[in-house]
């Protein structure tokens, strides 16, 4: 009779191995989130208390970074005019994957107090995928910190998949961006 003392060793399939490595990577990624702060709106005023001694986001391993390439989170704080949206899309596409987007305030959700402005977009997730919204006009600093903790939870449960969606539905996002911004034909020596 065959012994049942030891469970037999089964070789993991490739997807199974990839999943395990991805989970290990997720542990590091969710404990070290670096922010790129896109501070165009008034919600940016909630970030200094979140960074400094009042709430101290470095406890969670988070911190500000200087350039999009180094950052993990794109933090959109407040309303986005059409001019800044174009720069936001450039910035988002420069970030290295996996990347996450956190949007502060009610303006990226439905336009907020600028809902009828001709120059301001109403829903941010039509142009780039948003992982976490922090509602409020403006949100309290506790709410901002809670949003970051939510993002950490989403990464842990593998639901922060905005950057995958951007690949999958890229045509739809691009179409929305072009509808809002119009096409730009750059005619200089670098783009020939």
């Amino acid at each position: 009779m065959k012994s049942t003392k030891f469970t037999p060793y089964t070789k993991l399939s490739k997807t199974e191995t990839d999943r395990k490595w991805w989970e290990i990577g997720d542990f590091f990624r969710r404990n070290s989130l670096w922010l790129l702060m896109y501070c165009t709106g008034c919600c940016a005023i909630e970030l200094p208390p979140a960074m400094t001694s009042a709430y101290d986001m470095e406890r969670l391993g988070m911190g500000p970074m200087a350039t999009p390439r180094q950052a993990d989170i794109l933090l959109v704080s407040g309303y986005l005019s059409l001019k800044t949206l174009r720069r936001l899309v450039y910035t988002y596409e420069q970030m290295s994957e996996p990347k996450y987007v956190v949007a502060l305030g009610s303006c990226p959700i439905n336009g907020g107090i600028y809902h009828d402005s001709f120059a301001v977009i109403n829903q941010l997730n039509q142009y780039i995928p948003v992982d976490v919204y922090v509602a409020g006009c403006m949100p309290n600093t506790e709410a901002v910190m809670n949003g970051f903790v939510d993002l950490i939870g989403l990464i842990k449960s593998k639901k922060a998949n905005g950057w995958k969606e951007y690949h999958k539905n890229n045509d739809w996002f691009k179409e929305n961006q072009i509808t809002a911004l119009g096409k730009v034909v750059i005619d200089d020596e670098f783009h020939q």
Partner: protein
């Protein structure tokens, strides 16, 4: 061929392998030590600013996270430069004696070897950063090289004084000279030189009055501006190991080296923490201020120290 010759070859080869393994172990120790000390220092800085601060192992998490991310390339010079810089720095760290007796390559721990090999890492990084084509990176590299030009002159004068007094330029030889009975640490024997050495160390580490070439808010972290993901992770490892080399040079040259690893770690931690604390209560110089500063007081003090120590023979 004679048998004994063959055995000699085998013994020589295996001894060489042991040396290389010891060197790799020292480089690995450098990474682990400096990353841990750096993390503890982030905690200390947090307490300095009345914050709780990150976990002490946060630096390890940061580096492994960066290595787990995807990254873009800006051409093969960009990729190759990072690897060349990392290799150069690891190669330099392999020559560094930990204590006066733990030396990977006996008789090759000369001070000038470090001066030459450190340049491989720095130039690799300069090449790679310039290869990204970002103007901030070029400005950062230019500032880094200018800062290097500024702090090396007073530092070299002090180190050459030390070499003159010790009669050897080997790092472990200088350690043994300071540990010998009747001799003081060079920090005490040459007080002005010790101060100059520490100011130069602040410049080497890129600590804050001399942080001009990183300057995150001004030139978007300078040479690192286009790095993300794996390349940035390698750059962080490079940075940790080069900090180890610079701080342990100071420990060995001025603080009498170490007789045991524990003593080395304690001295290392003290020097790095002091530099970090000074850094965190200072603003940032402009690049011309850095050069003017180094060519004024440290240079004057270094020359005074050299004349006093060598020509007048006043050594405590």
């Amino acid at each position: 061929m004679d048998d004994s010759y063959y055995y000699l070859l085998v013994i020589g080869g295996s001894a060489m392998i042991v040396n290389v393994l010891l060197g790799v172990a020292i480089a690995l120790f450098a990474f682990v030590l400096q990353t841990g000390v750096g993390g503890i220092n982030r905690k200390i800085v947090g307490r300095l600013q009345k914050r709780h601060g990150p976990r002490w192992y946060q630096e390890y998490i940061d580096i492994f996270k960066l290595l787990s991310k995807r990254s873009v390339s800006h051409g093969w010079i960009f990729d190759f430069g990072v690897i060349m810089a990392l290799g150069g720095i690891i190669g330099t760290a392999m020559f560094m004696p930990l204590t006066s007796s733990i030396v990977a390559f006996e008789n090759y721990d000369n001070f000038f070897i470090f001066v030459y090999l450190l340049a491989v890492g720095m130039l690799g990084m300069a090449m790679s950063a310039s290869g990204s084509g970002n103007p901030w990176a070029s400005i950062g590299v230019m500032r880094a090289l200018t800062t290097m030009l500024a702090y090396e002159v007073p530092f070299m004068i002090v180190v050459l004084t030390i070499v003159n007094l010790s009669g050897t330029s080997s790092i472990s030889g200088i350690q043994l000279f300071q540990q010998a009975a009747g001799n003081n640490w060079y920090l005490i024997a040459l007080p002005l030189g010790g101060i100059v050495g520490f100011i130069a160390l602040m410049g080497m580490l890129g600590k804050k009055p001399f942080e001009t070439y990183i300057a995150p808010a001004e030139i978007a972290s300078g040479p690192m501006v286009e790095y993300g993901g794996k390349q940035l992770g390698m750059l962080f490892i490079l940075h940790e190991i080069s900090v180890f080399i610079e701080v342990s040079l100071f420990v060995h040259l001025f603080l009498g080296g170490a007789t045991s690893i524990l003593e080395f770690v304690v001295k290392y931690f003290a020097v790095y923490t002091l530099a970090n604390l000074i850094s965190n209560v200072n603003g940032r110089f402009k690049i011309d201020q850095v050069v003017k500063f180094y060519y004024k007081w440290p240079l004057l003090m270094a020359v005074t120290q050299a004349i006093v120590a060598i020509y007048l023979g006043w050594v405590i």
